[in-house]
Symmetry: C2
Subunit: 440 residues, 2 copies
């Protein structure tokens, strides 16, 4: 059966074509945007075309954050230090993107001196010098971790919490070195979270080349000011939807297995890896089961979650309604780490369940999955896990390229390889097949 | 020590910068070309800079095949069938590349009708209709194999032997569907081998979109002629070189370990994955051992082999001289499968040696290598294996993207990921370290 699944996907797969439509015809689809609405409509249509027994939209209010225009950060040397010549020569624009959920400058120029801090420790040491300044967090993505997700976990606190930590000491704004190993200069956005007891100061991500340049300038004692401008702000919450397709179980219809990815994606790109890949993986598994005439014993739900990026409202709503309806969720699987060549799954459940899954690794091995590690599922199925202790898993593709594209403008269709994408679907479908057949 | 190797390469690695120079400053470097000469010179300089105890050039005569201009294949409908209107509308150019080692049309137009064959079986069935025709081999790269090298092994006979098999039945020329899963239309060249008892007819590779189009046209009973033109031909053999660096062993200087990749690459591209990656892997291991102050017990040779692509003269010469000098070659390792994320090594040696290598997999596992399979080394170290029964191995990167670029014009620096490239060097260096330390 797994060989049949693999042959079907590698020969007749629609994941790549579906991804092409989603990325090129719809594009970035942040919660509240008009593309979100288009993507939901498309998702419903594809669920039906792919053979869902039923398909529906599950309403959930989503935040509506907008960038509101082009973000700007312009460099000025302090004339007293660098002289008039530099003032004339340099009017460098940094390549920046306002962080998601940030409050901008109301589209007005904000000019202030920049202070470099390489870590939160350094921030604390300089806390008395931050008033009115723009804090530049230059914390590096650590190259020695083999999994880039470790580098991300290590650095992402600067994006998520850096603004409020600087606001506490009176800073006017922050710019944050992007969370990436990439060799280009693209800034990488992503959500921040303000401490609501403090001023919500503007926050921008800056690309690595510009970050290195800026750091060099400051370390060479060139006093630098920045003029930043962003129009980022929230509009009122708006109605979004989880898109749900279902194959109803033939023997145990009340036992629900969920597969999903998130439909929303950041505005500067096409959301191809994050998480177009997870969306089309999900749909491809449905299509493949139907194409092979596989009738699952248990009910399988194929879910395109709303609002993972800046609110997690979709995943939260899905678990909440499941609780209200007293549903029995036996397993959930997410794909939200890109459409790269698969290597494994991470799993959050009991040691016995983990052992059972690991006993199936030899069945997945020919298709590229060689390990199932103790870890957890994706963000969207976290609420299900917390509500029901539902065991959860996430596809673990090779991580090396993920943060080259993550939340940056180059997260586009062209950077997804057809076969790598398809092999993710093969292994996910195989795992779901095994769990449907043998339980967990 | 392996952690130190990994940290050094991921933090201070020069493989990516070296690859940039090789691909962008030198470019494609087919045997006999002026770029070959530049690449050898660069290779010697980098060997020395990277800390070789000694470095030298090993002379070997190499074939000098040249494309000699732009290859052409122009489509003509047969007026009798399609009418004058189509003759006016269609003058489609197929995207083609003469196969390496092929003899062209002496830059003159050759016009003939096309006959489609989907396999050698079909060729045999149609053998009486081939006289004067252009045979179009449309054998598909099979998508169901998980390793793309299996698809390649399955299909490459059409490129290597298709011309002579068609010449046997009087065909005027062949065009061959490219050996790739790629979604673009780039033709993929590569070496053919003529049966010298038969006419050396022209042979062209065609991209997948054009191959599909042409196949459709023919299957729709549109009689099609092609005008092809290629100036491919051989010039006299010329002097090339293996570039060799050495770290001389401190305890067992007579026991030689060879690491290598091949310096030559096809002309239409930059040879970034094939085999720029292997070249810079090789140099990076030398650099890393020196940077860490590691003094090997055994002698380690770092070899940039000449002429893998269309003659294997470099690898042959290396083994031949080793035999003349009665050298003791205890192990050889090649990287010639691209700069992609590593998954394993293949190994050609005794079952006991394989078992010993496999016992080290847990040491490599954190860096991405999870299997060492029974197989063989790369082409360049094959002669060493055949001469001395030297055990050989080859890095096994993930294969999904390799044939997207292999011998095609998009095998360029931009399609190599820095960390994926570096991780190949990490695992190769680790394996060499283990063999140097513990023997084999």
């Amino acid at each position: 059966m797994i060989k049949k699944i693999s042959d079907e996907i590698l020969t007749n797969g629609k994941a790549y074509d579906n991804l092409h439509y989603l990325t090129k015809q719809i594009g970035g689809r942040l919660s509240g945007s008009s593309q979100m609405v288009k993507a939901e409509k498309w998702g419903m249509a594809v669920m039906k075309e792919s053979g869902a027994d039923k398909a529906w939209l599950q309403e959930c209010l989503v935040p509506h954050w907008v960038r509101g225009g082009k973000d700007k950060a312009e460099v000025h040397y302090d004339g007293a230090v660098t002289g008039a010549r530099n003032l004339l020569l340099f009017n460098k624009q940094l390549d920046v993107l306002a962080l998601g959920n940030s409050e901008g400058t109301k589209n007005k120029n904000l000019t202030a001196k920049v202070i470099l801090v390489n870590s939160f420790d350094e921030l604390e040491k300089k806390k008395d010098s931050l008033k009115g300044m723009i804090v530049f967090y230059n914390y590096k993505f650590n190259p020695v971790f083999i999994s880039t997700f470790q580098s991300y976990g290590n650095a992402v606190g600067y994006r998520g919490g850096g603004a409020s930590r600087a606001a506490k000491y009176g800073a006017a704004a922050v710019i944050v070195r992007s969370m990436t190993h990439s060799t280009d200069n693209n800034p990488h956005t992503g959500a921040l979270r303000y401490d609501t007891t403090l001023a919500k100061i503007p926050a921008l991500a800056v690309g690595l080349k510009d970050a290195d340049w800026l750091s060099d300038q400051i370390q060479n004692n060139k006093v630098i000011s920045l003029t930043i401008k962003t129009n980022a702000h929230f509009l009122p919450d708006t109605m979004g939807h989880n898109v749900i397709g279902e194959l109803t179980g033939s023997e145990f219809p009340d036992e629900i297995i969920t597969i999903g990815g998130h439909l929303d994606s950041w505005d500067p790109a096409e959301g191809a890896h994050d998480d177009g890949a997870g969306v089309v993986h999900t749909i491809e598994i449905l299509r493949t089961f139907k194409a092979l005439g596989y009738k699952p014993k248990r009910t399988i739900r194929f879910v395109l979650f709303a609002n993972e990026e800046n609110g997690l409202r979709g995943g939260t709503k899905y678990a909440q309604e499941a609780k209200e309806k007293n549903e029995k969720h036996i397993f959930a699987l997410e794909s939200d780490a890109g459409g790269f060549t698969p290597r494994g799954f991470s799993f959050g459940g009991t040691p016995e369940q983990l052992k059972k899954l690991q006993s199936w690794v030899p069945l997945l091995y020919p298709y590229g999955v060689y390990e199932i590690t103790n870890g957890g599922g994706g963000a969207d199925i976290g609420p299900l896990n917390r509500t029901f202790k539902t065991p959860v898993a996430e596809l673990g593709p090779d991580s090396q390229r993920y943060f080259d594209y993550h939340h940056a403008r180059n997260d586009v269709f062209e950077n997804v390889n057809k076969r790598e994408l398809e092999l993710g679907a093969v292994n996910m479908a195989a795992l779901i097949y095994l769990i449907d057949k043998y339980g967990l």
